[in-house]
């Protein structure tokens, strides 16, 4: 594998198109990630259609550039205007903004950049080491194990999605139901199509993802008018003192390990990773009361975790075809468009493509460091981009992007409908990512359950095979855990 990575790295360095696409992806990712109201997932969903005409390798250079760089970009607005550009930067603002207000904006941005790079590289290393091992194990899976893994992924999704577990579960079931619309893959019988030709072909992932992650955010942004930000414009010294920076490396390591592990849990996402990393550092600190007042420690740990999540989230996506977070859900859509189905077979049939993904991610991390160091002062200026220009452009990109999938107006209407559905779901506090996860995992779940039943003729087989039984057991425990925890807490409170 190392030889393949070096080989692909050499090819990329000699391919000006690949390099340019990576640079464009990274710059777009930093800029869009930095803009308040434009999340990383939204950036990826909106720019995804630009990759349709590219080769799969070039598409990955471009998309992973956006993916990785937008995570760092989110910290720029968190530090300079106290609004996280991405959900993963939600903790960075707690110390980053006070640092900026205290005249240390440049240093806070550099801390965020270096921690991001460190976390990103460590997450990348974990991806390179563990993904082949997981894929190797997954190669021995048969239909019952696959069905159990998918069920496990969906359950983790409901358990780990921030907010109400119950609402996440409802949204996941709704997403799975959407996946059953149209022709059945085994018998070619159309279901839930209401006689519509468009629905008979099934709901394509891209219009749904663009609607739910892109258009819904536009609708949320236009809901409230007159939003004004107070931007910290004075960025003076960029480099923090070495004496202050050096002792922070253990935090960056701990943050990265936590981020990568949390990122690898299907659907957990960076917001949970950064919260856990920050809480861990605060608990270990001798002066926890200083957190939140503008200290570098409060920037380093969450930023390292935030970027390590990227590598972590790619592990279940690449090896099992299960999205690690909402961005990898969009990436799965991109791979499917290019005729590639993520899963263990990629590691045997398309090892060159796997190596391309590794190289694309590493290159994106290094380019983010480069552009962050030389260009953050200029990138910060785009925080002044007028909302009317931004939102109108994104709305049109959503329309054109959905149309470009199959040159179909039906897909555009689907995108608009899911934009409205996503916006209404936000209004009632129902997470939207499970809908897309359900849509992606639905066909896998159905196909493997039915294959298992066709071959074995009995549901009991799911509980007699050790891997599927363990996964189903853990999934059921995860679902029941909140109820068990509440019951135990109530019982302890009643004790004299």
């Amino acid at each position: 594998m190392v030889g393949e990575i070096i080989n692909v790295f050499g090819q990329v360095l000699l391919d000006p198109t690949a390099l340019s696409l990576s640079v464009i992806g990274v710059l777009s990712g930093i800029i869009l990630g930095a803009l308040p109201g434009v999340s990383s997932t939204m950036s990826l969903a909106v720019l995804l259609p630009l990759s349709f005409s590219m080769s799969p390798a070039h598409a990955m250079m471009f998309l992973l550039g956006i993916f990785s760089a937008s995570v760092y970009g989110g910290s720029i607005s968190a530090i300079l205007i106290n609004i996280p550009g991405t959900p993963g930067a939600i903790i960075t603002q707690m110390d980053g903004y006070p640092m900026a207000r205290n005249g240390r904006a440049g240093e806070a941005l550099t801390y965020a950049l270096i921690a991001s790079t460190f976390g990103g590289v460590l997450g990348w290393l974990l991806l390179v080491v563990f993904a082949p091992l997981v894929a190797d194990a997954a190669l021995h899976f048969q239909s019952p194990e696959y069905a159990a893994v998918t069920f496990f992924g969906l359950t983790m999704l409901a358990y780990a999605t921030p907010g109400s577990t119950f609402k996440a579960l409802v949204a996941g079931v709704f997403g799975l139901l959407l996946a059953t619309v149209g022709f059945d893959g085994i018998t070619d019988v159309a279901r839930l199509d209401f006689g519509s030709n468009g629905l008979q072909g099934g709901l394509s992932i891209i219009p749904v993802a663009v609607g739910i992650f892109g258009m819904a955010e536009v609708l949320r942004n236009v809901e409230i008018g007159g939003l004004k930000f107070e931007v910290v414009r004075r960025i003076e010294r960029m480099m923090p003192p070495w004496k202050e920076m050096w002792p922070l490396w253990p935090m960056a390591v701990r943050g990265a390990v936590i981020g990568a592990l949390v990122g690898a849990i299907p659907a957990a996402g960076s917001a949970i990773g950064v919260t856990v990393a920050y809480a861990q550092e605060k608990r270990m600190s001798k002066k926890p009361e200083r957190y939140g007042t503008g200290i570098p420690e409060g920037v380093v740990a969450p930023e390292s975790a935030n970027n390590a999540c990227v590598g972590g989230a790619l592990i279940p996506m690449m090896t099992l075809g299960i999205p690690g977070d909402s961005m990898t859900a969009v990436l799965i859509g991109a791979l499917l468009i290019h005729g590639l189905r993520p899963g263990p077979a990629l590691f045997t049939d398309r090892i060159d493509f796997v190596a391309t993904v590794y190289v694309a991610l590493l290159l994106a991390i290094l380019l983010t460091l480069f552009f962050g160091l030389i260009g953050v002062r200029y990138i910060a200026r785009i925080l002044d981009t007028p909302k009317n220009v931004l939102m109108t452009s994104i709305a049109i990109l959503c329309v054109v992007g959905s149309y470009a999938v199959r040159n179909s107006i039906f897909d555009v209407v689907v995108m608009i409908a899911f934009g409205a559905i996503g916006w209404l779901m936000h209004r009632i506090g129902m997470p939207v990512a499970p809908v897309v996860f359900g849509l992606i995992l639905g066909p896998l779940l159905e196909e493997n359950i039915r294959r298992t039943l066709i071959v074995n003729g009995d549901w009991l087989v799911f509980f007699t095979r050790p891997i599927s039984a363990s996964l189903i057991g853990v999934a059921v425990l995860a679902l029941l855990y909140p109820a068990i925890r509440d019951f135990l807490r109530r019982r302890n409170q009643l004790r004299p």
């Binding site: 279901r191 129902m430 359950i449």
Partner: protein, 172 residues
């Protein structure tokens, strides 16, 4: 209780969401039961194409009923409590601009193939650049209006250039 008004709005939202999801599951169940090919698709050990949709529709129906019951219980618990924060009387107005955007998007999408990409996209871009600009900064003077109009036209031209010329995707 911190804010009875917000709690009441949240419960009402859950109630509406539960009702919509129940309607979805009911319509889906009707569609599935009326589909005579579903039973024909089941043979041998294969439970057929109706199995997963039926399970999911049943789950969605149960979950939506639970959502409705929980929301009604919350609303009943809040009955008689006074809102201890300023209630936005015109909360419905927050629906107006997004609803208008959805309607114009549908018109834009439907007319794109009839009237052409540049014409419809230009109109949409100019309209929404001005509308969101006015929403943010109020009534514009002539100079600002001219800037918004130019920005709208530039957005349309830029997107057309990227898709039609740069990545060569055929647009209507």
């Amino acid at each position: 209780m911190a804010d009875a008004g917000a709690e009441r709005r949240s419960a009402a939202g859950d109630l509406a969401g539960g009702v919509v999801l129940f309607a979805v599951s009911a319509v889906g169940a009707w569609s599935l039961s009326a589909n005579r090919f579903i039973v024909a698709g089941s043979y041998g050990n294969d439970p057929g194409p109706g199995l997963l949709p039926a399970i999911l529709l049943a789950l969605l129906g149960l979950f939506s009923l639970a959502m409705i019951a929980l929301a009604v219980a919350r609303l009943l618990r809040l009955r008689g409590t006074r809102n201890n924060s300023r209630q936005p009387r015109d909360a419905w107005r927050t629906f107006l601009v997004p609803a208008l955007l959805v309607v114009t998007l549908l018109f834009y999408a439907q007319s794109m193939t009839e009237l052409g990409f540049l014409e419809t996209t230009g109109t949409f871009a100019v309209f929404w650049t001005v509308a969101i600009g006015m929403q943010d900064t109020g009534r514009p003077d002539a100079r600002r209006l001219a800037i918004w109009l130019l920005e709208g036209a530039a957005i349309c031209a830029g997107i057309y250039a990227i898709f039609a010329w740069f990545i060569k995707i055929p647009l209507p």
